[in-house]
Symmetry: C2
Subunit: 261 residues, 2 copies
Protein backbone atom coordinates (compact mmCIF):
# COMPACT_ATOMS: atom_id res chain seq x y z
CA UNK A 1 0.00 0.00 0.00
CA UNK A 2 1.15 3.52 -0.74
CA UNK A 3 0.33 6.40 1.60
CA UNK A 4 0.83 10.15 1.33
CA UNK A 5 1.20 12.59 4.21
CA UNK A 6 1.10 16.37 4.50
CA UNK A 7 3.78 17.59 6.89
CA UNK A 8 4.37 20.89 8.68
CA UNK A 9 7.77 21.61 10.21
CA UNK A 10 9.91 24.34 11.62
CA UNK A 11 13.28 23.86 9.95
CA UNK A 12 15.36 25.68 12.57
CA UNK A 13 16.70 22.60 14.37
CA UNK A 14 17.23 20.44 11.27
CA UNK A 15 19.94 20.14 8.65
CA UNK A 16 17.32 20.31 5.95
CA UNK A 17 14.97 17.67 4.62
CA UNK A 18 17.29 15.07 3.19
CA UNK A 19 18.71 12.20 5.21
CA UNK A 20 22.48 12.35 5.60
CA UNK A 21 24.73 10.31 7.87
CA UNK A 22 25.61 11.80 11.24
CA UNK A 23 23.28 14.83 11.20
CA UNK A 24 19.65 15.36 12.18
CA UNK A 25 17.27 15.94 9.29
CA UNK A 26 13.50 16.15 8.91
CA UNK A 27 13.40 13.06 6.69
CA UNK A 28 15.33 10.91 9.14
CA UNK A 29 13.20 12.10 12.08
CA UNK A 30 9.99 11.41 10.16
CA UNK A 31 11.16 7.99 8.94
CA UNK A 32 12.13 6.97 12.47
CA UNK A 33 8.60 7.82 13.69
CA UNK A 34 6.90 6.14 10.70
CA UNK A 35 9.05 3.03 11.16
CA UNK A 36 7.88 2.72 14.75
CA UNK A 37 4.25 2.87 13.63
CA UNK A 38 4.88 0.42 10.76
CA UNK A 39 7.09 -1.93 12.79
CA UNK A 40 9.36 -2.08 9.73
CA UNK A 41 11.76 0.33 8.10
CA UNK A 42 9.97 3.07 6.14
CA UNK A 43 11.56 5.10 3.33
CA UNK A 44 9.92 8.39 2.33
CA UNK A 45 9.97 10.50 -0.84
CA UNK A 46 9.13 14.19 -0.62
CA UNK A 47 7.76 16.80 -3.03
CA UNK A 48 10.48 19.38 -2.39
CA UNK A 49 13.74 18.90 -0.52
CA UNK A 50 14.09 21.93 1.73
CA UNK A 51 17.46 23.33 2.88
CA UNK A 52 18.66 23.56 6.47
CA UNK A 53 16.52 26.05 8.40
CA UNK A 54 13.76 26.24 5.75
CA UNK A 55 10.19 25.65 6.98
CA UNK A 56 7.17 23.92 5.47
CA UNK A 57 3.46 24.27 6.16
CA UNK A 58 2.49 21.61 3.61
CA UNK A 59 5.37 19.39 2.51
CA UNK A 60 4.05 16.20 0.90
CA UNK A 61 5.68 12.77 1.23
CA UNK A 62 4.77 9.25 0.18
CA UNK A 63 5.89 5.87 1.47
CA UNK A 64 5.01 2.20 1.04
CA UNK A 65 3.95 -0.20 3.76
CA UNK A 66 2.12 -3.49 3.89
CA UNK A 67 1.53 -3.11 7.62
CA UNK A 68 -2.16 -3.33 8.51
CA UNK A 69 -2.70 0.36 9.31
CA UNK A 70 -5.39 2.88 8.48
CA UNK A 71 -4.46 6.43 7.37
CA UNK A 72 -5.51 7.66 10.83
CA UNK A 73 -2.98 5.31 12.44
CA UNK A 74 -0.21 6.83 10.35
CA UNK A 75 -1.50 10.26 11.29
CA UNK A 76 -1.98 9.94 15.06
CA UNK A 77 0.65 7.25 15.62
CA UNK A 78 3.37 9.10 13.76
CA UNK A 79 2.57 12.39 15.50
CA UNK A 80 2.87 10.67 18.87
CA UNK A 81 6.48 9.74 18.03
CA UNK A 82 7.48 13.04 16.39
CA UNK A 83 9.06 16.03 18.15
CA UNK A 84 6.83 19.12 18.50
CA UNK A 85 8.49 20.94 15.58
CA UNK A 86 7.32 18.33 13.02
CA UNK A 87 3.60 17.49 12.62
CA UNK A 88 1.74 15.25 10.20
CA UNK A 89 -1.34 17.30 9.22
CA UNK A 90 -3.10 14.76 6.99
CA UNK A 91 -2.62 11.24 5.71
CA UNK A 92 -4.37 9.19 3.03
CA UNK A 93 -3.93 6.10 0.94
CA UNK A 94 -2.92 6.83 -2.65
CA UNK A 95 -2.55 4.76 -5.80
CA UNK A 96 0.68 2.84 -6.34
CA UNK A 97 1.68 5.14 -9.19
CA UNK A 98 1.46 8.30 -7.04
CA UNK A 99 4.86 9.87 -6.40
CA UNK A 100 5.19 12.86 -4.04
CA UNK A 101 7.87 14.38 -6.26
CA UNK A 102 7.14 13.21 -9.81
CA UNK A 103 3.34 13.49 -9.57
CA UNK A 104 3.53 17.08 -8.27
CA UNK A 105 2.27 19.61 -10.81
CA UNK A 106 3.44 22.71 -8.97
CA UNK A 107 4.93 24.02 -5.75
CA UNK A 108 4.33 27.28 -3.94
CA UNK A 109 6.97 28.96 -1.79
CA UNK A 110 6.58 32.05 0.38
CA UNK A 111 9.49 34.16 1.64
CA UNK A 112 8.97 36.67 4.47
CA UNK A 113 11.22 39.64 5.20
CA UNK A 114 10.72 41.53 8.46
CA UNK A 115 11.47 45.25 8.06
CA UNK A 116 11.77 46.35 11.68
CA UNK A 117 14.32 48.50 13.46
CA UNK A 118 15.30 45.37 15.41
CA UNK A 119 14.94 41.66 14.80
CA UNK A 120 11.91 40.21 16.51
CA UNK A 121 12.43 38.39 19.81
CA UNK A 122 9.29 36.39 19.08
CA UNK A 123 9.76 35.42 15.44
CA UNK A 124 13.48 35.60 14.75
CA UNK A 125 13.42 31.94 13.66
CA UNK A 126 10.46 32.52 11.32
CA UNK A 127 11.50 35.64 9.39
CA UNK A 128 14.47 37.25 7.65
CA UNK A 129 15.11 40.53 9.44
CA UNK A 130 16.23 43.14 6.95
CA UNK A 131 16.32 46.67 8.41
CA UNK A 132 17.15 48.67 5.23
CA UNK A 133 13.97 49.96 3.57
CA UNK A 134 13.02 48.16 0.37
CA UNK A 135 11.23 49.82 -2.51
CA UNK A 136 8.30 47.57 -3.39
CA UNK A 137 7.30 48.77 -6.86
CA UNK A 138 10.61 48.00 -8.63
CA UNK A 139 10.63 44.57 -6.98
CA UNK A 140 7.05 43.95 -8.16
CA UNK A 141 7.97 44.87 -11.72
CA UNK A 142 11.10 42.70 -11.64
CA UNK A 143 9.16 39.76 -10.17
CA UNK A 144 6.72 39.93 -13.07
CA UNK A 145 9.60 39.24 -15.52
CA UNK A 146 9.93 35.76 -14.02
CA UNK A 147 6.48 34.64 -15.11
CA UNK A 148 6.45 32.13 -17.95
CA UNK A 149 8.83 29.40 -19.10
CA UNK A 150 12.49 30.28 -18.65
CA UNK A 151 15.95 28.77 -18.29
CA UNK A 152 16.61 29.58 -14.61
CA UNK A 153 20.33 28.63 -14.71
CA UNK A 154 21.22 32.03 -13.21
CA UNK A 155 19.25 31.11 -10.07
CA UNK A 156 20.59 27.62 -9.50
CA UNK A 157 23.26 26.47 -7.07
CA UNK A 158 26.33 24.59 -8.24
CA UNK A 159 25.07 21.51 -6.36
CA UNK A 160 21.74 21.46 -8.18
CA UNK A 161 21.03 17.96 -9.50
CA UNK A 162 18.09 18.80 -11.80
CA UNK A 163 18.48 17.53 -15.39
CA UNK A 164 17.01 20.68 -16.90
CA UNK A 165 17.13 24.31 -15.74
CA UNK A 166 13.86 25.07 -17.57
CA UNK A 167 10.99 25.91 -15.25
CA UNK A 168 7.57 27.48 -15.70
CA UNK A 169 6.71 30.24 -13.24
CA UNK A 170 2.94 30.71 -12.89
CA UNK A 171 2.87 33.37 -10.16
CA UNK A 172 5.60 35.66 -8.91
CA UNK A 173 4.43 38.32 -6.48
CA UNK A 174 5.84 40.74 -3.94
CA UNK A 175 3.66 42.66 -1.52
CA UNK A 176 3.84 44.34 1.87
CA UNK A 177 1.76 43.76 4.95
CA UNK A 178 2.54 45.89 8.01
CA UNK A 179 6.27 45.47 8.71
CA UNK A 180 6.62 42.53 6.31
CA UNK A 181 7.66 42.16 2.70
CA UNK A 182 6.25 38.90 1.37
CA UNK A 183 7.36 37.10 -1.79
CA UNK A 184 5.33 34.31 -3.35
CA UNK A 185 6.53 32.03 -6.15
CA UNK A 186 4.40 29.35 -7.77
CA UNK A 187 6.11 27.20 -10.41
CA UNK A 188 5.95 23.67 -11.76
CA UNK A 189 9.24 22.99 -9.97
CA UNK A 190 12.20 24.85 -8.48
CA UNK A 191 15.97 24.49 -8.80
CA UNK A 192 18.26 24.18 -5.78
CA UNK A 193 18.39 27.53 -3.90
CA UNK A 194 16.25 29.14 -6.61
CA UNK A 195 13.84 31.03 -4.32
CA UNK A 196 16.63 32.22 -2.05
CA UNK A 197 18.63 33.49 -5.06
CA UNK A 198 15.54 35.16 -6.54
CA UNK A 199 14.83 36.95 -3.24
CA UNK A 200 18.49 37.98 -2.99
CA UNK A 201 18.31 39.54 -6.46
CA UNK A 202 14.99 41.23 -5.74
CA UNK A 203 16.49 42.76 -2.58
CA UNK A 204 19.21 44.41 -4.75
CA UNK A 205 16.41 45.92 -6.84
CA UNK A 206 14.42 46.92 -3.73
CA UNK A 207 17.52 48.75 -2.47
CA UNK A 208 17.71 50.61 -5.82
CA UNK A 209 21.19 49.17 -6.38
CA UNK A 210 19.89 47.74 -9.66
CA UNK A 211 16.94 48.56 -11.93
CA UNK A 212 14.14 46.03 -12.41
CA UNK A 213 15.44 45.24 -15.93
CA UNK A 214 18.60 43.80 -14.32
CA UNK A 215 16.66 40.72 -13.23
CA UNK A 216 15.61 40.15 -16.85
CA UNK A 217 19.23 40.47 -17.97
CA UNK A 218 20.49 38.04 -15.34
CA UNK A 219 17.74 35.58 -16.30
CA UNK A 220 18.61 35.87 -20.01
CA UNK A 221 22.39 35.64 -19.42
CA UNK A 222 21.88 32.35 -17.53
CA UNK A 223 24.92 33.09 -15.35
CA UNK A 224 24.98 33.32 -11.55
CA UNK A 225 25.76 36.85 -10.36
CA UNK A 226 27.94 37.61 -7.36
CA UNK A 227 26.25 40.92 -6.56
CA UNK A 228 23.19 39.42 -4.90
CA UNK A 229 23.05 37.62 -1.56
CA UNK A 230 21.45 34.23 -1.06
CA UNK A 231 18.51 35.12 1.16
CA UNK A 232 18.86 33.13 4.42
CA UNK A 233 16.71 30.06 5.05
CA UNK A 234 14.65 31.21 8.05
CA UNK A 235 12.36 33.39 5.88
CA UNK A 236 11.44 30.57 3.48
CA UNK A 237 8.32 28.36 3.60
CA UNK A 238 7.15 25.56 1.31
CA UNK A 239 3.43 26.25 1.60
CA UNK A 240 1.69 24.16 -1.06
CA UNK A 241 2.23 21.27 -3.45
CA UNK A 242 -0.30 20.91 -6.24
CA UNK A 243 -1.36 17.49 -7.57
CA UNK A 244 -4.04 16.19 -9.83
CA UNK A 245 -7.33 16.65 -7.95
CA UNK A 246 -7.74 12.92 -7.52
CA UNK A 247 -4.86 12.86 -5.06
CA UNK A 248 -6.87 15.06 -2.64
CA UNK A 249 -3.57 16.33 -1.34
CA UNK A 250 -3.55 20.02 -2.13
CA UNK A 251 -4.23 21.96 1.03
CA UNK A 252 -4.73 25.66 1.40
CA UNK A 253 -2.01 27.64 3.06
CA UNK A 254 -2.36 27.35 6.76
CA UNK A 255 -1.27 30.61 8.30
CA UNK A 256 -3.19 33.79 7.60
CA UNK A 257 -0.05 35.89 7.35
CA UNK A 258 1.22 33.67 4.52
CA UNK A 259 -1.78 34.30 2.28
CA UNK A 260 -1.60 36.74 -0.60
CA UNK A 261 -3.81 39.71 0.32
CA UNK B 1 18.99 59.82 35.17
CA UNK B 2 15.95 57.65 34.67
CA UNK B 3 15.43 55.70 31.45
CA UNK B 4 12.53 53.67 30.11
CA UNK B 5 12.74 50.80 27.63
CA UNK B 6 10.16 48.91 25.59
CA UNK B 7 10.98 45.21 25.53
CA UNK B 8 9.80 42.31 23.36
CA UNK B 9 10.42 38.75 24.51
CA UNK B 10 9.46 35.19 23.87
CA UNK B 11 8.79 33.77 27.32
CA UNK B 12 9.31 30.10 26.43
CA UNK B 13 12.82 29.75 27.87
CA UNK B 14 12.28 31.92 30.96
CA UNK B 15 10.79 31.36 34.39
CA UNK B 16 8.75 34.51 33.99
CA UNK B 17 9.72 38.14 34.38
CA UNK B 18 10.68 38.40 38.01
CA UNK B 19 14.19 37.79 39.27
CA UNK B 20 14.47 34.77 41.56
CA UNK B 21 17.58 33.04 42.86
CA UNK B 22 18.84 30.04 40.88
CA UNK B 23 16.53 30.27 37.86
CA UNK B 24 16.70 32.18 34.58
CA UNK B 25 14.22 35.04 34.26
CA UNK B 26 13.70 37.85 31.77
CA UNK B 27 14.44 40.50 34.41
CA UNK B 28 17.73 38.94 35.44
CA UNK B 29 18.82 38.49 31.80
CA UNK B 30 17.91 42.10 30.97
CA UNK B 31 19.59 43.50 34.09
CA UNK B 32 22.80 41.57 33.33
CA UNK B 33 22.91 43.12 29.83
CA UNK B 34 22.04 46.63 31.11
CA UNK B 35 24.67 46.36 33.84
CA UNK B 36 27.32 45.59 31.21
CA UNK B 37 26.36 48.73 29.27
CA UNK B 38 26.18 50.84 32.44
CA UNK B 39 29.35 49.38 33.98
CA UNK B 40 27.45 49.30 37.28
CA UNK B 41 24.64 47.18 38.68
CA UNK B 42 21.26 48.11 37.18
CA UNK B 43 17.90 47.34 38.82
CA UNK B 44 14.76 47.42 36.65
CA UNK B 45 11.04 47.90 37.39
CA UNK B 46 8.48 46.62 34.91
CA UNK B 47 4.90 47.52 34.04
CA UNK B 48 3.54 43.99 34.31
CA UNK B 49 5.26 40.92 35.74
CA UNK B 50 4.59 38.12 33.29
CA UNK B 51 4.47 34.43 34.30
CA UNK B 52 6.78 31.69 33.05
CA UNK B 53 6.21 31.10 29.33
CA UNK B 54 4.19 34.31 28.79
CA UNK B 55 5.34 36.61 25.96
CA UNK B 56 5.50 40.38 25.56
CA UNK B 57 5.61 42.57 22.49
CA UNK B 58 5.77 45.80 24.50
CA UNK B 59 6.72 45.32 28.14
CA UNK B 60 7.92 48.60 29.65
CA UNK B 61 10.69 48.92 32.24
CA UNK B 62 12.50 51.79 33.88
CA UNK B 63 15.89 51.99 35.57
CA UNK B 64 18.25 54.60 36.97
CA UNK B 65 21.83 55.22 35.93
CA UNK B 66 24.27 58.08 36.19
CA UNK B 67 26.53 56.51 33.55
CA UNK B 68 27.19 58.88 30.66
CA UNK B 69 25.03 57.09 28.08
CA UNK B 70 22.54 58.24 25.46
CA UNK B 71 19.23 56.41 25.01
CA UNK B 72 20.66 54.88 21.79
CA UNK B 73 23.54 53.39 23.78
CA UNK B 74 21.09 51.66 26.09
CA UNK B 75 19.18 50.46 23.04
CA UNK B 76 21.97 49.13 20.82
CA UNK B 77 24.39 48.26 23.59
CA UNK B 78 21.87 46.29 25.58
CA UNK B 79 20.63 44.42 22.50
CA UNK B 80 24.19 43.39 21.69
CA UNK B 81 24.40 41.63 25.07
CA UNK B 82 20.90 40.11 25.06
CA UNK B 83 19.96 36.65 23.75
CA UNK B 84 17.88 36.62 20.54
CA UNK B 85 14.62 35.95 22.39
CA UNK B 86 14.73 39.29 24.24
CA UNK B 87 14.94 42.61 22.34
CA UNK B 88 14.88 46.22 23.45
CA UNK B 89 12.63 47.95 20.89
CA UNK B 90 12.91 51.53 22.13
CA UNK B 91 14.62 53.51 24.85
CA UNK B 92 14.25 57.05 26.11
CA UNK B 93 15.08 59.27 29.04
CA UNK B 94 12.13 59.93 31.33
CA UNK B 95 11.49 62.20 34.30
CA UNK B 96 12.61 61.04 37.74
CA UNK B 97 9.01 60.57 38.86
CA UNK B 98 8.17 58.17 36.01
CA UNK B 99 7.58 54.61 37.23
CA UNK B 100 7.00 51.78 34.73
CA UNK B 101 4.46 50.18 37.05
CA UNK B 102 2.88 52.99 39.03
CA UNK B 103 2.71 55.51 36.16
CA UNK B 104 0.99 53.00 33.87
CA UNK B 105 -2.63 53.95 33.18
CA UNK B 106 -3.60 50.68 31.47
CA UNK B 107 -2.30 47.39 30.10
CA UNK B 108 -3.46 45.39 27.11
CA UNK B 109 -3.15 41.60 26.95
CA UNK B 110 -3.93 39.33 24.01
CA UNK B 111 -4.52 35.58 24.30
CA UNK B 112 -4.44 33.38 21.17
CA UNK B 113 -6.04 29.94 20.87
CA UNK B 114 -5.22 27.82 17.84
CA UNK B 115 -8.17 25.67 16.76
CA UNK B 116 -6.49 23.15 14.48
CA UNK B 117 -6.77 19.40 14.19
CA UNK B 118 -3.11 19.24 15.29
CA UNK B 119 -0.85 21.60 17.17
CA UNK B 120 1.29 23.69 14.87
CA UNK B 121 4.89 22.60 14.31
CA UNK B 122 5.76 26.22 13.54
CA UNK B 123 4.00 28.11 16.33
CA UNK B 124 3.49 25.62 19.17
CA UNK B 125 5.42 27.96 21.49
CA UNK B 126 3.31 30.97 20.46
CA UNK B 127 -0.25 29.64 20.71
CA UNK B 128 -2.52 27.54 22.92
CA UNK B 129 -3.67 24.61 20.79
CA UNK B 130 -7.26 23.75 21.65
CA UNK B 131 -8.83 21.28 19.21
CA UNK B 132 -12.44 21.23 20.55
CA UNK B 133 -14.59 23.75 18.68
CA UNK B 134 -15.50 26.87 20.63
CA UNK B 135 -18.74 28.76 20.18
CA UNK B 136 -17.78 32.41 19.74
CA UNK B 137 -21.05 34.25 20.37
CA UNK B 138 -21.61 33.06 23.98
CA UNK B 139 -17.96 33.90 24.74
CA UNK B 140 -18.43 37.38 23.24
CA UNK B 141 -21.50 38.00 25.37
CA UNK B 142 -19.76 36.72 28.50
CA UNK B 143 -16.66 38.83 27.80
CA UNK B 144 -18.85 41.94 27.63
CA UNK B 145 -19.93 41.38 31.27
CA UNK B 146 -16.36 42.07 32.36
CA UNK B 147 -16.39 45.67 31.13
CA UNK B 148 -16.51 48.27 33.89
CA UNK B 149 -15.21 48.43 37.46
CA UNK B 150 -15.46 45.13 39.29
CA UNK B 151 -14.00 43.16 42.17
CA UNK B 152 -12.07 40.50 40.24
CA UNK B 153 -11.33 38.30 43.30
CA UNK B 154 -12.75 35.28 41.44
CA UNK B 155 -9.99 35.65 38.84
CA UNK B 156 -7.02 36.08 41.14
CA UNK B 157 -4.45 33.52 42.19
CA UNK B 158 -3.79 32.75 45.84
CA UNK B 159 -0.29 34.23 45.43
CA UNK B 160 -1.59 37.57 44.17
CA UNK B 161 0.06 40.42 46.10
CA UNK B 162 -2.21 43.27 44.95
CA UNK B 163 -3.75 45.35 47.77
CA UNK B 164 -7.12 45.62 46.07
CA UNK B 165 -8.97 43.21 43.75
CA UNK B 166 -10.88 46.13 42.15
CA UNK B 167 -9.98 46.67 38.51
CA UNK B 168 -11.53 48.62 35.66
CA UNK B 169 -11.88 46.72 32.40
CA UNK B 170 -12.11 49.09 29.40
CA UNK B 171 -12.20 46.51 26.57
CA UNK B 172 -12.93 42.81 26.67
CA UNK B 173 -13.24 41.19 23.25
CA UNK B 174 -13.25 37.76 21.65
CA UNK B 175 -13.04 37.25 17.91
CA UNK B 176 -11.95 34.67 15.36
CA UNK B 177 -9.47 34.98 12.54
CA UNK B 178 -8.94 31.89 10.38
CA UNK B 179 -8.05 29.04 12.76
CA UNK B 180 -7.52 31.37 15.72
CA UNK B 181 -9.68 32.54 18.58
CA UNK B 182 -8.25 35.78 19.93
CA UNK B 183 -9.06 37.37 23.29
CA UNK B 184 -8.15 40.96 24.09
CA UNK B 185 -8.37 42.54 27.53
CA UNK B 186 -7.59 46.18 28.25
CA UNK B 187 -7.76 47.25 31.90
CA UNK B 188 -6.13 49.74 34.24
CA UNK B 189 -4.30 46.81 35.84
CA UNK B 190 -4.55 43.03 36.16
CA UNK B 191 -4.40 40.63 39.09
CA UNK B 192 -2.05 37.63 39.16
CA UNK B 193 -3.19 35.00 36.60
CA UNK B 194 -6.28 37.09 35.84
CA UNK B 195 -6.16 36.82 32.02
CA UNK B 196 -5.42 33.10 32.11
CA UNK B 197 -8.33 32.51 34.52
CA UNK B 198 -10.66 34.66 32.40
CA UNK B 199 -9.74 32.72 29.25
CA UNK B 200 -10.20 29.42 31.12
CA UNK B 201 -13.71 30.49 32.13
CA UNK B 202 -14.56 31.74 28.64
CA UNK B 203 -13.48 28.37 27.22
CA UNK B 204 -16.07 26.65 29.46
CA UNK B 205 -18.68 28.97 27.96
CA UNK B 206 -17.37 28.43 24.41
CA UNK B 207 -17.73 24.68 24.96
CA UNK B 208 -21.39 25.28 26.03
CA UNK B 209 -20.60 23.69 29.40
CA UNK B 210 -21.84 26.91 31.00
CA UNK B 211 -24.07 29.77 29.83
CA UNK B 212 -22.62 33.29 29.40
CA UNK B 213 -24.42 34.40 32.59
CA UNK B 214 -22.18 32.03 34.57
CA UNK B 215 -19.24 34.40 34.13
CA UNK B 216 -21.32 37.19 35.67
CA UNK B 217 -22.22 34.95 38.61
CA UNK B 218 -18.61 33.93 39.19
CA UNK B 219 -17.56 37.59 39.03
CA UNK B 220 -20.28 38.61 41.51
CA UNK B 221 -19.59 35.69 43.88
CA UNK B 222 -15.91 36.74 44.08
CA UNK B 223 -14.88 33.10 44.62
CA UNK B 224 -12.44 31.13 42.48
CA UNK B 225 -14.19 28.27 40.64
CA UNK B 226 -12.63 24.85 40.17
CA UNK B 227 -14.54 24.09 36.96
CA UNK B 228 -12.41 26.24 34.69
CA UNK B 229 -8.83 25.58 33.64
CA UNK B 230 -6.05 28.14 33.91
CA UNK B 231 -5.27 28.78 30.24
CA UNK B 232 -1.59 27.91 29.67
CA UNK B 233 1.02 30.66 29.34
CA UNK B 234 2.16 30.15 25.73
CA UNK B 235 -0.98 31.81 24.31
CA UNK B 236 -0.59 35.01 26.35
CA UNK B 237 1.02 38.29 25.23
CA UNK B 238 1.46 41.61 27.02
CA UNK B 239 1.04 43.85 23.97
CA UNK B 240 0.70 47.41 25.26
CA UNK B 241 1.20 49.58 28.32
CA UNK B 242 -0.52 52.93 28.28
CA UNK B 243 1.03 56.02 29.93
CA UNK B 244 0.35 59.70 29.95
CA UNK B 245 1.21 60.94 26.44
CA UNK B 246 4.19 62.87 27.73
CA UNK B 247 6.02 59.61 28.38
CA UNK B 248 6.00 58.80 24.62
CA UNK B 249 6.07 55.16 25.57
CA UNK B 250 2.84 53.74 24.23
CA UNK B 251 3.54 51.76 21.10
CA UNK B 252 1.09 50.19 18.76
CA UNK B 253 0.85 46.43 18.76
CA UNK B 254 3.56 44.99 16.65
CA UNK B 255 2.26 41.87 14.99
CA UNK B 256 -0.60 42.11 12.53
CA UNK B 257 -2.24 38.93 13.79
CA UNK B 258 -2.46 40.44 17.26
CA UNK B 259 -4.53 43.41 16.14
CA UNK B 260 -8.27 43.51 16.68
CA UNK B 261 -9.93 43.23 13.26
Amino acid sequence: MRYALIIEYQGTQYHGWQKQPGIITVQETLETALSRVAAHEVKTFCAGRTDAGVHATAQVVHFDSDANRQPRHWLYGTNSYLPTDIRVRAGLQVSDNFHARFSALARRYVYIIHQGAFPSALFYQHLYWYPQPLNIEPMQLAASYLIGQHDFSAFRSSECQAYSPIRTMMHSHVWTQNEFVIFEFYANAFLHHMVRYLVGHLIEIGLDHKPPSWLKEVLENKMRQDQACTAPPQGLYLVEVQYDDSAQLTQTLRWPWLIHQ
